[in-house]
């Protein structure tokens, strides 16, 4: 089963009259129909609404109204982005049946760009996890091997794009939740500079780290999708209001003369040999293509994971306080208001969410604040300083996206610390607020995709995409998951 055309290719076909938005959507829905039972990428597919939007996109194009690169393109949304009238659960029991009265800013922007929303994809509950096994509605499996995880927390979006049950998708990335599943599913996943994509309508996990970004099959598709969703939003107080770079500007410029830093700390123990050698191969190819390769050391990366697991839970403990059964969502029974709230939360949240809320509440408690949260903020500052020093030497930094390829389903569910290590390469960019992208560079011996990460300084999306486009050309990764073979 081929996944169908990507964003740029589908757009070309639409404008050449070779296809229609409705036919693109039908292809996408057909692939969803034949894969969902094994993969479970979606929580909601709104077929009727999607068909209506696609028909409108076709009519508009026929009338000469062209809304740009996403016009008529079927896109899936991670189910932590609010869609007016369409169930939005964040994969939690506590939001079962919840229909928001408003659209997230990214959803409005996709609408203005003419995109067709296929449905809402699965995730770890409230985006907390690295395997999409923490969904209250059942896990998403990896299309390359359905005994394995899709990664997470945007596992549904990554799997849908890999199969082609969406032409592109949006995910959210708090500690690697776009890039890590993209790596494990063999697609392109990108986390933009903090503040460039509005978080308004994104159900918050950790506000200072969360960022929405695209999952696509090509680097160009990633840049096209990003352009449609980013930009200043007056409804987000942390939205960046200055000038935005052109993410497409360097796509075909090549990399001659650029300096690429290889992060020393993101290798060694815990990294699978296949991942290390694929990374080294790509670095060597980049060198042949004309970049200067420098090994750089960012010592604070060693403690980034610990800092992350204080900051993210601390913020989540407050962000998730609003789910109390009073105004919306699951309501438990209780004789008093306090008992009702406690019951609603105990029944509504899964174990990982509960664990992080407790962790965060503890870290913020009087007497512990400075030792935990305060110290984590100092680590965060140190990471930013380390990045700053590195970018005085190099244009971008590269590393594996994940120390391992997709792991077996269930392998890490009872060992949270092992699960947390999945994000060791991706977390520093979140703590610093910098952009980073993951793209597939090859398969390991078992035929599982390996992701390669390119990190760039704030608002460095131009140079990040420029290098990523070269990596894509050098990797020549042109395989799709053999889902039918697995199924048969």
């Amino acid at each position: 089963m081929r996944p169908g055309p990507g964003v740029a290719e589908a757009g070309r076909q639409l404008r050449a009259g070779e296809t229609t938005s409705v036919r693109l959507l039908e292809g996408v829905l057909e692939r969803a129909g034949s894969s969902e039972a094994q993969v479970h990428a979606f929580l909601t597919i709104d077929r009727d609404r999607a068909l209506e939007t696609a028909a409108q996109a076709d009519a508009d194009l026929a009338d000469g109204i062209d809304r740009g690169p996403l016009h008529g393109i079927p896109i899936a949304l991670k189910d932590n982005m609010c869609t007016r009238g369409m169930e939005t659960t964040a994969a939690s029991q506590i939001l079962a049946g919840y229909r928001p009265p408003y659209d997230a800013t990214v959803v409005s922007r996709l609408g203005e760009a003419g995109a067709v929303v296929v449905g809402k994809t699965n995730l770890d509950e409230f985006a907390m996890g690295s395997s999409t096994e923490n969904s209250a509605y059942g896990p998403t499996y990896n299309p390359w091997d359905t005994t394995r995880v899709a990664g997470g927390s945007s596992g549904g979006s990554a799997a849908a794009v890999a199969i082609g049950s969406a032409t592109a998708a949006l995910g959210s990335d708090t500690g690697g939740s776009i890039r890590q599943p993209a790596a494990l599913c063999g697609v392109v996943g990108m986390k933009p500079t903090y503040g460039t994509v509005s978080r308004y309508g994104l159900i918050a996990f950790a506000s200072s780290l969360d960022q929405i970004g695209p999952l696509t099959r090509t680097v160009e598709d990633s840049a096209l999708t990003l352009e449609a969703i980013w930009g200043h939003d007056p409804f987000d107080g942390t939205s960046y209001s200055g000038d935005y770079p052109d993410p497409k500007a360097g796509l075909s410029r090549g990399v001659t003369g650029l300096r690429v830093g290889v992060v020393k700390e993101l290798s060694g123990e815990g990294y699978e040999p296949a991942v290390e050698s694929a990374t080294a191969d790509m670095v060597a190819k980049l060198e042949s293509a004309g970049v200067e390769v420098v090994e750089v050391s960012l010592p604070s990366f060693e403690i980034a994971l610990s800092a992350y697991y204080l900051i993210a839970p601390a913020e989540c403990s407050a962000n998730l306080a609003r789910f109390d059964g009073i105004r919306y969502g699951h309501r438990g029974q209780g004789a008093t208001t306090e008992a009702l709230m406690a019951r609603s939360r105990a029944e509504g949240f899964g174990p990982e969410v509960t664990r992080r809320i407790l962790l965060g509440t503890y870290a913020l408690s009087a007497g512990y604040y400075d030792a935990f949260y305060g110290q984590a903020q100092r680590v965060r500052a140190a990471i930013q300083e380390d990045f700053g020093r590195a970018y005085q030497q190099v244009d971008v930094l590269v590393s594996p996206t994940s120390p391992t390829v997709a792991f077996e389903a269930g392998a890490r569910t009872s060992d949270p610390l092992a699960m947390y290590l999945s994000d060791i390469c991706t977390i520093p960019s979140n703590l610093a607020g910098h952009p980073a992208i993951s793209l597939p560079v090859g398969l390991d011996g078992q035929g599982l995709p390996i992701g390669f990460q390119v990190m760039a300084p704030p608002l460095g999306e131009g140079v990040m995409y420029r290098v990523a486009a070269e990596v894509e050309r050098l990797a020549g990764f042109d395989v799709a998951p053999g889902l039918e073979e697995v199924a048969s």
Binding site: P100, I203, F323
Partner: protein, 482 residues
């Protein structure tokens, strides 16, 4: 042992901005429940706050009026606690970096000025409103609770005094003065009965001469200045009685019961509540540019204390200056224009704060709608001063002027209220009365002073009350002594 009360006051003021603190919903009292709401102030999943610039300007104005320093950089924090009318279960507030710090307010307690330090003024959002149904509104036995989120997210400024207040009277004076400053700034309607201004008092006692602070009790639910004073007074007495009978004050929150005139324990605070404050990650730190602060400073109106001082400079006594300063701005304008026209300030102030206010109340006419100005007041004051009309006639003249009958001179003429003031014609009248009252004249010469009053009355009767009584008195004594 003798005890000294130590009182600090926390004041919450709801700002009268067009929109709420972190969203575009309207701010207003009395709308249908849950009509001024949106995803942000309802705490819906995914909604985000955006800071209201007008509210920040208001708190800067408050801070500057209270002689505070405005921080160059100020940060919002999340204050975490669960409550049904707090939609996010955290309040966006400020913690260790508030907008305003280190100010003071001078308050007048029985003619003595006390300076009360102000620790801070910080910006936060209000909660929604719970109404407990059944069981007389008591939360524990209520059948159900109704939630109205119209108030949720309304900008709230909390002003925290230092524990430098030493009596219930001073507490009241501080609250009154603070309210007059807020009203003058126009940033809030500051209505106690609607809850747009709310007071909490922290009360403790310590042995006279001690500099340590005793265990404090927070007293809530005072909805008038009088109840603030009574509650603080009661709480001081309660604590002294407790300690004098070998008891100990417990750190707690107490609820003032206005009808019973006592405080009741609400909840005991074990240490202090842990609100787990941390920096609000949905908002970036505010940079309060010095030029911005300067612009706000330049737009500050004359404050009540400055105005009272100016009125005292006009020659008004402290009490009259205070009353006039607190009067409607339209009335103050009339006073100021009359003084500019040369009217005697004290007389002008007395007219404005007495008869003019009285007339406007009796006729239910707003001060700004009165058909009266500084020139008319100056003319009226002048006529009384020159003896052209009597004080009682002047009240009638004022009534005529305010009823639209014309200037004071025109009204006095029309209503025939001008006093007979020239000595020759009045002298002739006096002579006639004396001639007609030989027994009274005899009595006077025999040392009976009281007959003068009778004779003045006779002259006034002959002139139908239009003679200047002082002049009549003078002429009578002249002729009687001749």
């Amino acid at each position: 042992m003798s005890w000294e009360p130590v009182i600090g006051i926390e004041v919450h003021v709801e700002l009268l901005t067009d929109s709420k603190m972190f969203c575009g919903c309207a701010v207003g009292f009395g709308a249908e429940p849950n009509t001024n709401v949106c995803p942000t102030c309802l705490g819906l999943p995914g909604a985000l706050p955006v800071t209201n610039r007008a509210a920040i300007e208001s708190i800067m104005a408050i801070g500057l009026a209270l002689n505070c320093e405005v921080s160059e950089r100020s940060v919002f924090h999340r204050k975490n606690y669960f409550y049904a009318d707090l939609p996010k279960n955290y309040q966006i507030s400020q913690f260790d970096n508030p907008v305003c710090v280190d100010g003071h307010l001078d308050v007048d307690v029985d003619g003595v000025i006390h300076r009360v330090g102000i620790e801070r003024a910080h910006m936060e959002e209000d909660t929604g409103k719970s109404t407990h149904v059944g069981a007389g509104g008591r939360i524990h036995a209520a059948e159900s609770t109704l939630l109205d989120f119209n108030r949720s997210g309304v900008p709230l400024v909390e002003i925290v005094s230092r524990p430098e207040i030493r009596s219930a009277a001073e507490a009241r004076a501080y609250a009154l003065e603070l309210r007059s400053v807020i009203v003058e700034l126009g940033v809030s309607d500051a209505r106690l009965e609607e809850g747009s201004m709310r007071f909490d008092a922290n009360v403790s006692i310590r042995p006279v001469g001690s500099t340590e602070l005793g265990t404090k009790v927070e007293v809530k639910n005072m909805n008038s200045f009088r109840s603030l004073e009574r509650a603080v007074e009661h709480e001081i007495a309660r604590q002294i009685e407790l300690v004098d009978s070998d008891g100990a004050v417990v750190q707690e929150t107490r609820h003032w019961d206005e009808e019973a005139g006592v405080t009741h324990s609400m909840r005991t605070k074990e240490g202090s509540s842990d609100y787990r404050y941390f920096v609000e990650p949905d908002l970036v730190p505010m940079v309060l540019d010095r030029q911005w602060v300067q612009r706000i400073r330049e737009t500050l109106p004359e404050l009540p204390a400055q105005r009272r001082e100016r009125y005292r400079g006009d020659g008004l006594g402290g009490s009259l200056a205070g009353v006039l300063s607190a009067a409607d701005p339209a009335l103050r304008d009339i006073y100021e224009a009359a003084v500019a026209e040369g009217a005697d300030p004290k007389a002008a102030a007395n007219w404005v704060t007495g008869e003019v206010i009285g007339w406007s109340r009796r006729h239910d006419v707003a001060a700004s709608e009165l058909q009266f100005d500084g020139a008319a007041l100056a003319e009226l004051v002048g006529m009384v001063g020159e003896g052209r009309i009597s004080s009682s006639a002047a009240k009638e003249v004022l009534d005529g002027v305010l009823s639209g009958e014309g200037s004071p001179g025109q009204v006095a003429e029309a209503r025939d209220l001008i006093q007979i003031g020239d000595r020759t014609s009045l002298g002739a009248l006096v002579a006639e009365v004396l001639a007609a009252s030989p027994r009274a004249v005899e009595g006077y010469r025999g040392g009976d002073e009281k007959v003068v009053g009778f004779l003045v009355g006779q002259v006034m009767k002959a002139t139908q009350g239009k003679a200047d009584p002082r002049l009549v008195d003078e002429l009578l004594r002249e002729q009687l002594s001749a």
